[in-house]
Amino acid sequence: METEQELNQLLEEEEDGLEEEEDGVDEVLVEEEENEDTGRVENDVTSMDEDALEEDEEAPTRKRKAERDPPAADQEKPQGDAEGSDLSNDEEGAEVIEEEEEEEEEAQVLADAIPWRSSAGAATSGVESLVRDGDLVVVYERHDRMKALRVTKGGILQNRYGVFDQGAWIDKLHFGSVAYAKQFPKKDGAKKEASKRGGQRKRMNGSRQDGFVYVLRPTSELWSLVLPHRTQILYVADISTVVMHLRLRPGMRVVESGTGSGSLTHALYRAVAPSGSVFTFEYHGVRADKAREEFVDHGIDLKSAAADSGKGGVWVEQRDIEQLGFPTDGELYPEGSVDAVFLDLPGPWKAIPSATKCLKVGGTLCSFSPCIEQVQKTLEAMNEENVFYRMRTMEILLRPYELRTEKFNLMTEPGELVAPRTFSAGKDPSRFVRQPSESRLMAIPSEDMRGHTGYLTFAQKVKFDK
């Protein structure tokens, strides 16, 4: 779990002492799940949260005291600090509002394949690129620190770069803009950390520093980087290959199992939107519910499965596909009417017979498995069906590159002596030249390349002479 790692990091960093508070601020919006997992951390986080909200002028000694006494700090209201208490109240309030909006969401004309925005904010601004009330945005701190959130009028975002007022973004900030913190926790350690990470605008007088973040419009790719992980997910290389080899185009009907964290589901729907639909099955009840919430929140849920109203969406259902197979009763979709089937199951071979029934002639099936033994069994099952053509198995990996500017030493002319590091007494420095060198920008494969994700097996269902 990504967030768990963050918490671990947090714990480690806490030992550095100076960075405690700043990290605490960073984790204010940690999900409930994580808090359950690590109760101790939760307490610390909350206490530091309160501290962070206090005015910069607060005496450091008081903060220390509060930290040492976590349960008390939980209840303790910041004293004589109007702004601080306002912020914390706002934040709680914002969460409540957010939930209400999600419930109130109604069908709207799709502005985009995946609208990412709630209907509440739809009318507030004419300019497309402006952040609206209720928009889902991706807050970009660094390439590996991003976070999705719904913008709300009173919403407050806190991270290591400061305290951000979301209300100030609405109808003013373009997507892709820099958002500056309105308040930055004043602490030496925090400053040091923040400026080290680069998300800092320095003021020349050095009295205060404003942190900043970028506010980006979500895409399917960004979403797969920020989504709450409920399972292992597919990333862009596999996703794009699946979409391409399933030969998806708008209007198609796709069946998927399991839903998992919904990373692929978003991409599948993006490819078949607006009139196509994705039927996705997940055997884990809680995951299915969470996924459904997300699709509703993003405005891509299929309102009713049966009606072919021309408007598509994503349909989530809890169903154990390995046990029960895909539904072939025609309630969700007629038998033999599905353009593509995607399987990401521990035992995909069990789902092959029903998947074959769902598929239409010319439709494509794909199975994703991390182990080659799974692939073998799946291919055997597919072969037994004797309707699949061009069964192919492939793996695809993304090799990321980093950029570095390296300095190269150059050869000197004969007779030119390169100055040694240190001059011993009696040597004349004027007899030496400086080591000539040149700097070059170069790309080098990144260290953190994924070695394996899974094998993708594709096959096409064909039609015969009767």
Partner: protein, 550 residues
């Protein structure tokens, strides 16, 4: 288009997937088209008419006819999955060409009698002296080999981005600038190409990327394909008053040849236009002059009469000013339609291509900017392209740039980073390979049919800096700057001349003064010398002075 349950129409392009992907043949279904699928003969594809996509066909032994295949065709093709181990080995196997007892003539005879592929292979197996002694693995390999040689089967496929790309990549990768199918799919994903988006495409893959984008968007939203010329027709005409006959080269759209293979319906193409880079950027500059613009568009524009007419009229205008470009364009548009239009009773396929964007369309496109950008033009420096194009992108637009080389993308990334134009950038390459999966014989394919490399991709998200990064008025700015420079130079020259004059005058004065002074000095010196000579002979005169005196 919404379901893939189509049948082949006359004039359609289809992809024939031969022998489990061994070959991919893209062909046009007309009366005359013939393709060579086996060594023996040319196959007339016209009878494919009316067949459903996804149907398997078996080519007859003479290679000239085909019929719909049966389950047996498929099982022969796919082979068996049951062989898992072997007790034998191939120690006694000698390859001297005498193992097969059936002669070439006999095989041909069997074929001409119309034997089915499966039966023929059985015959071959029966008459092979060494077959029984082979390991089970070798036996299967033998069958597969014979199957490929003697019975050709193919599946009729609807053309799609994946198949067209793979077909080209296998046959002539240079025509699609080495774009491998995984790279194309990543470009589409990274650039967030989707329905209801606005996509800007600059490519040199002869329409492969454009076709893929159009397929992905399915007629929802807008696509603009641009050619990388900064000149606009007006500017070129300004330069030489229409004397240059090759203006059309610089103002026409990019090559879109491959787009036709996708069989796009009219509604898929409806949102697609083409323009040159210069025209769009100019439209942006015009659009930026907000209030005035609307009146202007009304004045210039041919309004809502449909872009064909608008285009024709635009062409008409061109004819007036510079004969050729307009005519040629007209002819081009004409021929695309005519291809499919010659007579026939069957339902005919028409090919639709993106049309030239009208002025209003361009203004409309650049008003809110493109939300996706794909650059697949390896012959241009990506940073120079994106520097120019940034101003017509929407803030937070997703972009993906392809290059077969790493270094240009590295430079581009640095440029974007320094200009704060993009965040979340990722420079990557894909590693893609296929595996043979058979019980006991699973391994990656020996020959990298996927190619050694698919090229590199730089992807990321544009920041709102695009709103300020305006290169559209560069020309104007430059003109102003140049004018200012010239004025400055003139001033400087004038000043310099004045100064010179003054200096000269001063110099003259000074010279005069100096001369006077010198005279005085000389007089003085002479006097002094005389004095010195008179005073003492002992003083040490300098040698020069001595010489002078001499």
């Amino acid at each position: 288009m919404t379901t893939s349950e189509g049948v082949v129409c006359e004039g359609d392009h289809v992809v024939l997937d031969v022998n489990n992907g061994e070959r991919l043949v893209v062909t046009h279904v007309t009366r005359k088209t013939k393709v060579k699928l086996s060594k023996r003969g040319y196959l007339n594809v016209y009878p494919l008419l009316g067949h459903a996509y996804g149907t398997i066909f078996e080519v007859s032994a003479d290679g000239k006819h085909f019929k719909v295949g049966s389950k047996e065709t498929l099982s022969v093709l796919n082979g068996s999955f049951n062989t898992t181990k072997t007790e034998r080995n191939n120690a006694n196997l000698v390859d001297d060409g005498t193992a097969q007892k059936l002669s070439h003539e006999e095989i041909e005879k069997l074929k001409s009698e119309g034997i089915s592929g499966g039966d023929l292979i059985e015959k071959l197996v029966e008459n092979s002296a060494t077959f029984e002694g082979k390991t089970e693995f070798s036996q299967e390999k033998y069958k597969r080999k014979k199957q490929k040689k003697h019975c050709v089967a193919f599946v009729l496929c609807r053309p799609c981005s994946q198949l067209v790309c793979e077909a080209y990549f296998k046959k002539s990768p240079q025509r699609i600038c080495g774009l491998r199918v995984d790279t194309v799919s990543l470009l589409l994903s990274f650039a967030n190409v989707r329905a209801h988006g606005r996509t800007l495409v600059l490519e040199e893959s002869n329409g492969l990327v454009l076709g893929s984008v159009l397929e992905r968007m399915g007629g929802h939203g807008e696509v603009c394909a641009i050619s990388p010329y900064l000149d606009t027709k007006e500017k070129l005409l300004e330069v030489d008053g229409g004397a240059n006959k090759h203006h059309h080269v610089k103002t026409k759209g990019p090559s879109m040849e491959i787009v036709k293979y996708f069989n796009f319906e009219e509604e898929i193409i409806s949102g697609a236009t083409f323009a040159t880079m210069g025209e769009l950027i100019e439209a942006k500059a015009a659009e930026a002059k907000a209030g005035v613009e609307e009146e202007r568009a009304e004045g210039v524009g041919t309004s809502d009469r449909g872009s064909v007419e608008a285009d024709a009229e635009a062409n008409g205008k061109e004819v007036e000013s510079s004969e050729r470009p307009g005519k040629k364009q007209k002819r081009e548009n004409g021929t695309h339609g005519d291809n499919a239009a010659d007579g026939g009773e069957h339902q005919k396929r028409k090919f639709y291509f993106p049309r030239k964007a009208s002025r209003e369309q361009m203004v409309e496109l650049v008003r809110s900017g493109f939300s996706s950008l794909i650059l697949a033009a390896p012959s241009y420096s990506p940073e120079s392209l994106i520097d120019k194009l940034a101003c017509i992108l929407a803030p937070s637009a997703s972009f993906a740039i392809f290059s077969p080389w790493l270094q240009p993308l590295a430079d581009c990334r640095l440029f974007l980073h320094k200009a704060k134009l993009a965040v979340g950038m990722q420079l990557s390459e894909t590693f893609w390979r296929e595996h043979q999966v058979l019980p006991g014989r699973t391994h990656p394919h020996m020959n990298m049919i996927t190619g050694a490399t698919g090229g590199y991709i730089l992807a990321g998200t544009m920041t709102a800096e695009v709103l300020r990064h305006d290169r559209s008025s560069d020309c104007e700015k430059r003109a102003i700057e140049e004018a200012a420079e010239r004025a400055r130079e003139r001033q400087a020259e004038a000043q310099a001349e004045q100064k010179k004059k003054e200096q000269k005058e001063e110099e003259q004065k000074e010279e005069e003064q100096k001369e006077e002074e010198q005279k005085e000095e000389e007089q003085k010196e002479e006097e002094q010398k005389k004095d010195l000579e008179e005073v003492s002979d002992v003083s040490l005169p300098m040698p020069e002075e001595e010489a002078k005196e001499d």
